[in-house]
């Protein structure tokens, strides 16, 4: 359960697929135009999925479905990609860093 004053992330459908009138490729036409934004929860309490109100970092009021409490980033330096080591080996071999091997 989230409490008033907690930092949260909400989700909102800005335009449902049927409301999208811009010139779009067919695959994009079929899906909603969605938005995610973070802010301070204004409701006394809320559960994930509830329609809530937040105040964003610039002081704007936004509404949407509660998605995450204390949201954080998980992007990283990625899983090992062996090709990168191959590039390094090849370049060092051509350039003979540290003299001939």
């Amino acid at each position: 359960m989230a409490k008033k004053g907690e930092w949260v992330r909400i989700h909102k459908v800005v335009l449902a697929a049927a409301e999208r009138t811009a010139k779009l490729p067919d695959d994009t036409k079929k899906v909603d135009f969605e938005m995610w934004v973070k802010g301070t929860l204004q409701n006394e309490t809320a559960e994930i999925g509830d329609e809530v109100t937040i105040i964003t970092a610039t002081g704007r009021e936004e509404t949407g479905k509660l998605l995450e409490v204390n949201p954080y980033y998980t992007h990283s330096y990625g899983k090992f990609v062996p090709e990168i080591i191959e590039i390094d080996k090849k370049l060092r071999e051509i350039m003979q860093f540290g003299g001939e091997n």
Binding site: V14, L15, E19, R20, T21, A22, K23, L24, P25, D27, T28, K30, V31, D32, F33, E34, M35, W36, V37, K38, G39, T56, A57, T58, G59, R60, Y73, H75, S76, Y77, G78, K79, F80, V81, E83, I84, E86, I87, D88, K90, L91, R92, I94, M95
Partner: protein, 471 residues
Amino acid sequence: MKLAKDYDSVMGRSADIMKASLGLDFNDFESGSVAFDYEGLMKATGYTIEEVDRIQSRTGVGHTQLLELRNITALARKYAKPGFGARIFVKDEAANASGSFKDRRAACAVAHAKKLGYKGVIAATSGNYGAAVASQAAMQGMKCIIVQECYDSNGVGQPEIVEKARKCEALGAEVIQLTVGPELFYEHLSVMEDSGYFNASLYSPFGIAGVETLGYEIAMDCREKFGKDPDMVVCTQAGGGMVTGTARGLIKAGATDTQVVAASIDLTGLHMASDVQFNKKSCTTGHTGFGVPHATNPDTGDVPRSAARPLRYMDRYVTTTQGEVMYMTEMLANLEGLERGPAGNTALAAAFALAQELPEDAIVVVTETEYTGAGKHIQPQLDFARENGIEIVFGDPKDDVPGKNIVLPADPGLFKVKDLDLDKLRKSLIKRSVPRANGKLTAEDVAFLVADTRSDEAFVKAALDELGVEY
């Protein structure tokens, strides 16, 4: 009375919203037809290049180092014919306050917003520009909102864009993240209208004036170090601001013989507004999906007329591939000790091939580096590609198929550039400009198109004849 905020109502008010959010009436420069007073628009910023330099210097922007890439030059020479292989240099723009050349663009726009009394700035960008605007807003004590196209309909975001969101938030901005689609403009306008913030558009004259210092510095750096102007300057081409601003700066410095080459990653075949294809690309900027439309149809952005008009300034427009740019990013780290990019290394990948066309005493300058971070690095980007079904192989980059594979050059000798047909792009620009005319094009329109395509009257008239358009 509360304004209606539905799609059609907001889009219908777009001209008024843009005028209020820029403090500039673009109608002052319009002829009512194809032509508009481009130089008048640029002068309307009211800032000379010296003033822009002062504004930037106050906030840790500009006067970055021009670094010689000695090992990369030596490597290029191994594949060039004897006596060929120009010296390759790069402006280390990653050293700007927020980590890219975009600080130059943001510095001017945000300073101007501050001067006009706006409380905040807003920008629509999934790129480094968001961090630049956020950084400048923080330094100048203003609020900041960044609107990003970030996710596909499954809520999966490009790691590179997610990192840029993190950085914007770290610098105090609010980030509005959206799924794929041009309706981003609607959300952007709507928030601009409600907040009353300044539109720190990438395409405003303030932004482009900010890049002019980059071209100017390159000319000055080269004169000081080598006693001559650079022979070639290679710019990554996406929205066109880098090419336009750099070339204008070079001209202001008097470096009129320097060849300006635009370079984009070839993403032919991938539709930029496609939800399914959004995460099939492995670089989110510096590619032809932005580069070509912004060259041939510059006035489609978030300002009525774009100050970024790259076809006016480029001598050549070449493409490279995702695999070459990824490889070059690793090369820059491994051979030069500079972990930068990846997307910002598009021009460098092209320069590696272009330098081989020039003699050893020639100077090739690549205009930028950009910061690297989690998500924004070749390993997470290649890992993300592989997870999205993209095949990663070593081979000949000419076998690259965007959205299907990433071909890393099996040998550095396989780096090549492909020249786009500039005349074809020029004709495309002319065709897209025609609907603005009231039937017949005026003599002023023809002169404008000559300048906008950097061609001559005979070329423009022949193109109009081909289209069956009167002038």
